[in-house]
Symmetry: C2
Subunit: 543 residues, 2 copies
């Protein structure tokens, strides 16, 4: 009889998951009888530290990602969502692939490395109007959005709207938020100088909203944190310290103290939550993270390990839990792989003992901060050179290092192009949030969408012969804006929110597709439109 293969399923293809699989592949090559499967939503590993550079275009879109199959040739890779895990039956059920047929993979050992997800719920308007910054898709969307705003601003003649469009707000002063605001600042200033010449530097405004007194104060020593704060301010970033974002609309960021910053670009790097699959495992969690012991085994299970941002891993010195960084996840991965192999032979489990090597953060063009081992603290150009070198050397393959090297080289000689990768994906049905007094649209606007109120109230106001006349008050479940879509005429009235209001938006294209397919619906809308028109005519006569 041959050796029975020990089946290990790794959930998640970030730094943690990929490095567990890498270490297990190594053990497999040395004779440990393991069969590794990895489940991830994307077919690549994202190199997070370079993501902010995608926004500015200093590195190419695909330079920051490496195909999982190149890294892990001996691992069975499933590009799927995780539908659920049955820890008693020891099976993982995958979400739909090409067909919605359920795929069930049995395991002997399970490794959970699902990371965190962006979660804007509970903050009015943020899910609809704030741009997250976590994945490659987020970085590309932000870049496209910034270019869209610059395109439109460059031909806009309304000075107030120009100011609104040329204000860029980032919330969160950790590594991610500071890097993003620095890159957006560099990119926009450069693009306006070289390409969008009708935009004056004085029209640009970059704002970083941060709850602390200095940026990066939790991440760095006070001296470096102060340096980073000064550097950002010196590059033209306005720092709103000790302030918090509380809501968003399509045209403003609203702070807790009631300040409204008129903007069309709001990036929030603040809230991440553990992946909801983690909570659904039925294993012990605290604040959504899996509770582990020092060997990274999940409490109460012999056959489940967890690591990275979805796990609560006690630090070896007893001082709290491991921070959510790549360097910790990679070290945890090696411990997990060793322990899975030890579990097979009944050998004792190893403890996680890594305490951290240093910290690096970029602050835009050729400036960075670094805390290195041995108490060496650096800032400025030298720190930036170290930052680039360290991350370049950490790139997960030689080809990737070559590609990024070429990109950086090209970046030195070729000007970055503000190309908007319009992928033509209509947004379909979406939602929007309005604060009291905000206009949804104005009389005379083009009618390009239908609205349905989910919560809150709005009023419909028509201006005729210089006088405003309220035509209707609308509440939850009621819709508006259909007349301009049915007849392709300009909006016949202004609609504005009377209270904070959430609406569902159906764009013209989808609306017309629906009407074309469902003639009854078309009649229904036409009836309502005709009735409303008659009522409005009456009211205007009375008024």
């Amino acid at each position: 009889m041959g050796t029975t293969m020990h089946r290990i399923v790794v959930l998640g293809g970030g730094f943690g998951g990929v490095h567990v699989a890498l270490a297990l592949e190594r053990l497999g090559r040395m004779g440990t009888p393991v069969e590794v499967s990895l489940v991830n939503r994307e077919n690549y590993l994202v190199f997070q530290p370079l993501l902010a550079e995608v926004v500015a275009g200093s590195v190419g879109v695909i330079d920051t990602i490496t195909p999982l199959r190149r890294l892990l040739p001996a691992t069975r890779i499933y590009i799927r969502e995780v539908e659920g895990v049955d820890v008693e039956a020891r099976t993982v059920t995958l979400g739909p692939g090409i067909l919605p047929r359920p795929t069930v993979i049995p395991y002997d050992s399970l490794v959970v490395a699902l990371g965190t997800v962006t979660d804007f719920r509970g903050q009015p308007g943020l899910p609809e109007h704030a741009l997250p910054f976590k994945s490659l898709a987020d970085a590309i969307s932000l870049r496209n959005h910034v270019i869209h705003v610059l395109e439109q601003a460059s031909v806009e003649e309304d000075a107030e709207l120009r100011r609104e469009m040329l204000t860029f707000v980032v919330a969160g002063g950790g590594f991610s938020g500071t890097e993003v605001v620095a890159e957006v600042n560099d990119f926009v200033r450069g693009a306006c100088k070289r390409v969008y010449r009708s935009i004056a530097p004085s029209e640009l405004r970059f704002v970083l909203v941060h709850s602390g007194e200095r940026v990066l104060e939790r991440e760095l020593t006070p001296r470096l944190s102060a340096y980073a704060t000064r550097t950002l301010a010196g590059c033209g970033v306005e720092l709103l310290l000790g302030r918090r974002l509380s809501a968003a609309t399509s045209a403003a960021a609203v702070l807790e103290d009631g300040t409204r910053i008129a903007t069309r670009t709001l990036v929030s790097t603040v809230p991440t939550s553990p992946n909801p699959v983690t909570a659904a495992l039925g294993l012990p969690t605290e604040r959504g993270r899996l509770v582990c012991d020092g060997t990274l085994r999940v409490d109460g299970r012999e056959d489940v390990w967890a690591l990275g941002d979805c796990a609560l891993v006690p630090m070896p010195d007893g001082a709290g839990f491991a921070p959510p960084t790549a360097q910790h996840a990679i070290r945890q991965a090696n411990v997990v792989a060793t322990n899975v192999a030890a579990h097979l032979t009944g050998a004792p489990q190893t403890h996680f003992t890594f305490t951290g090597l240093g910290k690096l953060g970029a602050l835009g063009h050729r400036r960075a901060v670094a805390e290195l081992p041995g108490g060496v603290h650096l800032s400025g150009f030298l720190a930036w050179v170290i930052w680039r070198t360290v991350y370049w050397a950490k790139l997960p393959s030689g080809t990737r290092r070559l590609r990024v090297g070429l990109s950086w080289l090209a970046d030195l000689v070729l000007p970055p192009d503000p190309l908007q990768l319009n992928l033509g994906v209509g947004r379909g049905i979406s939602q929007a949030h309005f604060e009291s007094g905000d206009a949804v649209f104005h009389q005379g606007d083009l009618g390009d969408r239908l609205y349905m109120i989910l919560s809150g109230e709005a009023e419909v106001v028509r201006r005729e012969n210089g006088a405003d006349m309220t035509l209707a008050r609308l509440g939850p479940g009621e819709y508006f804006g259909e007349a301009a879509l049915l007849g392709r005429i300009p909006r016949s009235a202004t609609v504005q929110a009377l209270t904070p209001m959430d609406v569902l938006i159906l764009p013209r294209g989808d609306f017309q597709a629906l009407l074309g397919s469902l003639p009854d619906l078309r009649e229904g809308f036409e009836d309502v439109a005709a009735r409303r028109a008659a009522q409005n005519a009456e009211r205007l006569e009375e008024g």
Copy 2:
């Protein structure tokens, strides 16, 4: 008094529109008092001839596009849709930018170069299930889709489903269709050899459906067309000649003779229609194209010119109309610019006299066909070298030539990576087409979407204790699939189409967002689900 500037608005930023603006900018620099505006949906010019290489990854995504603002520094560029044109008032109204406020630009001369759009209407299932191939977004989507299919096929164990997933069908044997099928063939075969090693070459199938007897027969001489046909067949592409595509579902291409080819990838390059804006201008058209005289003026207008694929331009020799190629559009552009300037001074209009320079088509990896001036006909590697050189030299800027050169170089030394650029854009509400007998989903499947019938009929069948029981027949306006979404349980029955059927699909995420926002809707769905469950239980007892 200074010179009054002559305002010219160019609609469209393809080869035609961009070259008109380039020529007008040149005239402006030489003293002609022109003020040029250009309206286009994207902020870049797409270099169509290289688009098929994006699919295979031989050139990078952004190598094929050039920012309009770099090409046209003196032109006012509006990245907008065209909402409408008033040829009497001489104004162009633009679609919404950041706000839905209408922007109206007045003109003295109008140039229409709006090209064509993909139009699958009238072909059952094509709008929902066929992939177009016209824009950069199309090329990227096709690449992502092919990688998605390979990822899923590589871990699929059902042999029939694997065959279906590994069959790639392209409809249309013109330049676009032959280039696409050749590139997909090369890319998939290469990726399976290097990365997706669990897929055997014998499992792959590539099909080109073409109504003619040879590919490229309308584009090339009989000898070269025969060579192209043999070359494709020799690379492993199955040619279905004298056949036409008539319908599509998510799992099949259906031909006019009733043949069904089971596939998950259907590209159709056949139908393009003139841009709908062209028809809405109220100017004389034939088959949707603007009727011009030999000076490219639109019939009956002193101040409107048209060129490129949206115009019917008589050939100088009286033999029909100019073909829809870049070389013709570029020559037409120079004539239009000259004539706009002549109109200003009252000078006579110039005639379009270009008759064509030659024809080039790539057939995948290092093979092409070429018809050059002087009756020189070439095929194979030499033709491919000429093809690359000609198009490389035609790239619209030095930076672009450098970038594409670097990409081709990198392609020689670095293996192309099958990275799927998952931009995380959920598809939202979509539609699907089913032919009679097709299953929408099977009992036991994961429930990830809600369906509403737009036209046609379906039956709901449950298998219990080995017997099939029809639970319901559903028709237009009725929905199904809600139970699995409300309870996150597997599908409790199979639903299949009884007639050709079109449905609207609401994915789980959108469904839950809607239910969360509209509690009444949730109650409504729960009532229906409970009632249906009770009815089904009764029926099964009776049965």
